[in-house]
């Protein structure tokens, strides 16, 4: 069979991440010191794992309501008030999903029509563009810059808006740059959006991991909640990546459409994970504080180290990545990463993995122990010395 010709061209033509080959090489090599991993090194806190185990012992192994366990939705609503001062109705404005990713997918599906333009800040996480393309809409990246602390500026946003613009994706705190949006940035963005019909998909999966400045959601800015789908989850803040659990909060009319998509595609999010998540929200605040403090030390350590060995590096204020510039080496991001991997066995992610505008940068994750980061920095320093 000629499979290629039988495939839906929109799926077939999606680029598998352009640097897949590089990733495969890294996975195959031995004794690699990696700063390439986008997930926490901490284990899920024991009391959360135990709650999952307990639910299994009690044979809580059936589907839940499509929207997720009522108890969990109530805890999510309580958490949103406690941490970000945003009020959501657990019955109609919260949907529990399979990771934040599913929520992003569902939101794009229900909001975006063929031909619509979807704006998103770039560089950013890799899933937005393909999902927009699958929805036959037009992805429009808005480039953010180190000089603006990788924040989306109101001017750039205003310039990108056309009468076809349907949705703005705000991925902050940002993977890979570590940029955040302060209340002032958000007010300015809100000012541009008020009076339009543009929706906001705010991917706040790293909301708990900001350093110094507390995270502010765009939904907490006046007039924004009615047009914002807030997506978050348990992966990064509670170190629960493999549990695959996230959620969306937003206006009931949008959430009810997303619930349909979720119902037909997924049924309900994993039940064991939902019980564990209830425990996380009830008794996990201290775990987050502890992990955040560790990340913060590592953050200062890696940024200081990168600068010391001669790479200019924006001071990340959120997530767990540093995004140093490698322009001074004259190499492209991919060349830099490939040569570093082959010659000194350190794995970084080329900035171009997060969009063309990531050229000239590399992403170094600091979800690693200080000793691990130190060894990686020593090797990178040697590498730079030999260039």
């Amino acid at each position: 069979m000629d499979y290629q010709s039988l495939m839906n061209p929109r799926a077939r033509d999606l680029k598998p991440s352009g640097i897949r080959k590089f990733f495969d090489i890294a996975e195959e090599m031995e004794d690699v010191i990696s700063l390439g991993v986008g997930e926490p090194d901490f284990k899920t806190p024991w009391h959360i794992r135990e709650a999952g185990i307990h639910s299994l012992e009690k044979a809580k192994t059936r589907y839940t309501a499509n929207r997720g366990l009522k108890e969990l939705r109530s805890e999510i609503a309580a958490y949103m008030i406690r941490k970000f001062h945003i009020e959501y109705q657990p019955d109609s404005e919260v949907l529990v999903t399979v990771g934040g990713s599913e929520a992003i997918d569902a939101a794009i599906r229900v909001l975006v029509c063929p031909g619509d333009e979807v704006l998103f800040a770039a560089p950013s996480f890799v899933c937005y563009e393909p999902l927009i393309t699958l929805g036959q809409a037009v992805p429009v990246p808005i480039v953010t810059r180190a000089k603006d602390n990788f924040a989306l500026t109101a001017a750039d946003l205003a310039a990108a808006i056309t009468d076809k613009t349907k949705l703005l994706i705000l991925p902050y705190p940002n993977n890979p740059t570590g940029g955040i949006l302060r209340r002032k940035n958000l007010e300015e963005i809100a000012q541009v959006l008020r009076g339009t019909d543009i929706f906001v998909l705010s991917d706040e999966i790293y909301a708990e991991l900001t350093y110094g400045e507390k995270h502010v959601s765009i939904a907490a800015i006046e007039g924004m909640q009615e047009r914002t789908i807030l997506v978050s989850g348990f992966s990064k803040c509670y170190s629960m990546t493999g549990w695959r659990l996230g959620y969306a909060c937003g206006p009931a009319p949008v959430l009810s459409q997303m619930t349909k998509v979720h119902q037909y595609g997924i049924m309900s999010a994993p039940t064991t994970s939902q019980y564990a998540a209830i425990e996380a929200l009830r008794n996990g605040d201290a775990d987050i504080d502890k992990m955040r403090e560790k990340y913060d030390m590592r953050r200062r350590f890696i940024v200081d180290g990168l600068r010391r060995i001669g790479l200019s590096c924006f001071e990340p204020e959120g997530a767990f990545y540093a995004f140093p510039s490698i322009q001074s080496t004259g190499l492209s991001s991919e060349e830099f990463c490939e040569r570093l991997l082959y010659s000194h066995k350190v794995a970084l992610v080329p900035g171009t993995a997060f969009g063309a505008c990531g050229e000239g940068f590399v992403r170094a994750s600091y979800c690693e122990s200080i000793e691990h980061i130190r060894t990686a920095l020593e090797r990178i320093e040697q590498f730079l010395g030999e260039l």
Binding site: E27, G36, V37, F125
Partner: protein
């Protein structure tokens, strides 16, 4: 101070510069805090954590429970002091519960430790009884896992 101590407890070989970066203070501040902690006797010393099982060295450790008669006026202090002066003794703790002193003893062979208990500890004037427990394997010591590091199951790269 607490954060500094926690970091040093994890790795006493962090340089002052590294500690300063992690704690977001100056290098001088770290140096003076460490000096002060040393002067106050809060920091008693710095030692490597050795996994002796890794090198073919004959070493055995035993935890010995001692029941003793406390002395008028001196309580347990006197006997504890006598015991801690013995070279073979690694640590001495006063315990609550079923016995009084817990003594960690190190020797080259089981025989040597057994003889130490029989000849030195058991006959002491106020020692009522001893129970010797040999350590068979150390999994974790002073907060550090001694088993060989498990492989990271996260893979090398993910976005």
């Amino acid at each position: 101070m607490d954060k500094l101590l926690t970091l040093l407890e994890k790795n006493a070989r962090f340089t002052n510069a590294e500690l300063a970066t992690m704690l977001n203070v100056s290098e001088e501040a770290v140096a003076s805090q460490i000096k002060e902690l040393e002067n106050q006797g809060v920091i008693k010393g710095y030692k490597p954590l050795v996994d002796w099982d890794k090198i073919a060295n004959d070493r055995v450790t035993a935890m010995i429970e001692l029941k003793v008669t406390p002395q008028r006026d001196a309580g347990f202090e006197e006997i504890a002091e006598t015991i801690m002066e013995m070279e073979e003794v690694e640590s001495v703790y006063l315990m609550s519960g079923g016995y009084d002193l817990s003594v960690l003893v190190r020797g080259r062979t089981f025989q040597e430790v057994a003889m130490f208990v029989a000849k030195r500890l058991a006959p002491m004037k106020n020692v009522l009884s001893t129970a010797t427990h040999f350590v068979l394997r150390r999994y974790k010591d002073m907060g550090v896992e001694l088993a060989d590091k498990k492989l990271d199951d996260r893979g090398t790269i993910s976005l």
